[in-house]
């Protein structure tokens, strides 16, 4: 009868140890998630209106909506939009396009 009880003790200890490890891992995972979220990359795009034709390029410091820029083949263009896109999403879109092709 006594022999039946002995294996419960290490089992309880194992459960307690497992719980502590799980809690620690959970906390570490949460912190890692936070770190990853802060490192998620975004790309800022500048949208230029070249006499009706829209042209996109990477945002440069000094760009602002309403600014005239000399970046169009047929003269001056004007910045009509600046917005951020997630690089991850863009990569996925690229993969999708290449697959379609």
């Amino acid at each position: 009868m006594a022999e039946d009880v002995t294996w419960i003790q290490p089992l309880l200890l194992m459960i307690a140890l497992g719980t502590v490890i799980m809690l620690t891992l959970k906390q570490a995972r949460e912190l890692k998630k936070l770190q990853e979220a802060s490192n998620s990359k975004e790309k800022i795009i500048t949208l230029i209106d070249c006499n009706g034709e829209k042209k996109e390029r990477d945002f440069k410091e000094g760009d602002y909506i309403g600014k005239r820029v000399e970046e169009c083949s047929d003269g001056d263009g004007i910045i009509i939009g600046i917005y951020a896109v997630k690089e991850e999403a863009k990569d996925k879109a690229k993969t999708k396009t290449s697959r379609t092709r």
Partner: protein, 370 residues
């Protein structure tokens, strides 16, 4: 008497241990253990908050140094500890004027401090530095408040306080993360979600329009849309500023009324907080002044509209709190295009040819010129 063997000892000790644990449950040891676990979790997250606060301070100082600022650490420390005591609200008479007075003083103090510290920098760079310092200060404040609550909870053994703090920590971290990212976006000078209002104003005005400064850091222009004279107000860009849209609109309307050109419609366009589940960049229309201001600017819209009996309409572009202070997303940009269409539609539906309309693009105009 028979000698006890090992299994008997183990059984006796485990029974004793369970008895002790059972007694401890009544003595609150389980709660103390729970508090310890919560505190440990909060401390780990507090460390993340501290790092965010320090990093943002470093970034703000670096930005100021790039523009040859004198004693950037000194100015940052001043901004960090600067406070504004809210006016007495138990006596509400003239509270708006008192509030406005205090906000104006705060704005003037900040501006003059940055003018003194960054004499070689232009207005745009100074406004960005000012916002960067304010964001660093906000992050530092979040860190200090969380630390205060944790230490108070531990000191007074207030497990409810610690539990509440632990439960709200993910939300606090999310807000802090949004501020940290916003700092980078402000330094770059890209439009933020809150710039949706000024974008609509600029798009309605069109290019090459003459803008005049009508109020402190606030500009106005006029254009013609389908035979209606439309006056447009926004903060002066492309620096980081919200201007004084209420005061500017009040002045503009008084000028218009004085020359017999009473507006038939006033439309405020602003970014507004969406509810969870709502689509970012969706546009809605309503009545009233769309402006997230503590009072002084908003009340001016309402008072001037009431004084001259002008219908006051609002068009909002919905977004989350984080989206409002971070670089504008494509969906918000597209939302601002939809909002422009909605404003044009409102003008056509609610006014006739020859009428005068005032449209105000409310929000921070960073990255949006004129």
């Amino acid at each position: 008497m028979a000698e006890a063997n090992l299994p008997d000892w183990i059984s006796a000790i485990s029974q004793l241990a369970f008895l002790l644990i059972f007694l401890m449950l009544f003595l609150g040891v389980n709660q103390r253990f729970q508090i310890y676990m919560w505190s440990r979790d909060i401390k780990a997250k507090l460390l993340v908050l501290e790092n965010m606060a320090r990093e943002s301070e470093t970034k703000a100082v670096e930005y100021m140094l790039r523009h040859n600022a004198k004693d950037p650490k000194g100015i940052l420390s001043k901004v960090k500890d600067f406070f504004l005591i809210e006016p007495v609200s138990i006596e509400p008479i003239d509270i708006i004027r008192r509030m406005d007075h205090l906000f104006t003083i705060r704005r003037t103090v900040f501006r003059s401090e940055f003018e003194k510290a960054m004499p070689e920098a232009d207005e745009v760079a100074r406004s960005k530095a000012e916002t960067a310092a304010e964001i660093a200060s906000a992050l530092n404040w979040i860190y200090k408040i969380v630390r205060h609550l944790l230490l108070t909870g531990e000191k007074t053994k207030n497990w409810i306080l610690i539990m509440q703090l632990q439960l709200i920590m993910p939300q606090i971290l999310k807000i802090a993360e949004a501020y940290k990212k916003a700092l980078n976006d402000f330094i770059k000078g890209a439009p933020i979600g809150d710039s949706a209002g000024p974008i609509v104003a600029l798009r309605l005005a069109g290019q090459d329009n003459e803008w005049r400064e009508i109020e402190d850091e606030t500009v106005a222009t006029s254009t013609v849309i389908e035979g209606r004279r439309v006056y447009i107000v926004k903060a002066r860009g492309p620096g980081s500023s919200v201007g004084k849209p209420g005061a500017a609109t009040e002045r503009l309307i008084e000028e218009l009324v004085a020359r017999g050109e009473k507006p038939s419609l006033m439309i405020t366009v602003d970014a507004a907080l969406k509810l969870e589940g709502e689509e970012t960049g969706s546009v809605a229309e309503g009545v009233g002044a769309a402006i997230g201001d503590p009072g002084p600017e908003k009340i001016r819209f309402e008072r001037i509209a009431v004084k001259h009996g002008i219908p006051l309409k609002a068009v909002i572009i919905k977004m989350g709190l984080e989206e409002a202070i971070q670089a504008m997303s494509k969906s918000i940009y597209e939302g601002s295009l939809k909002a422009e269409e909605r404003v044009r539609q409102l003008i056509l539906e609610e006014t006739r040819e020859g009428d005068t309309v005032v449209v105000i693009g409310v929000g921070n105009t960073i990255g949006v010129g004129q």
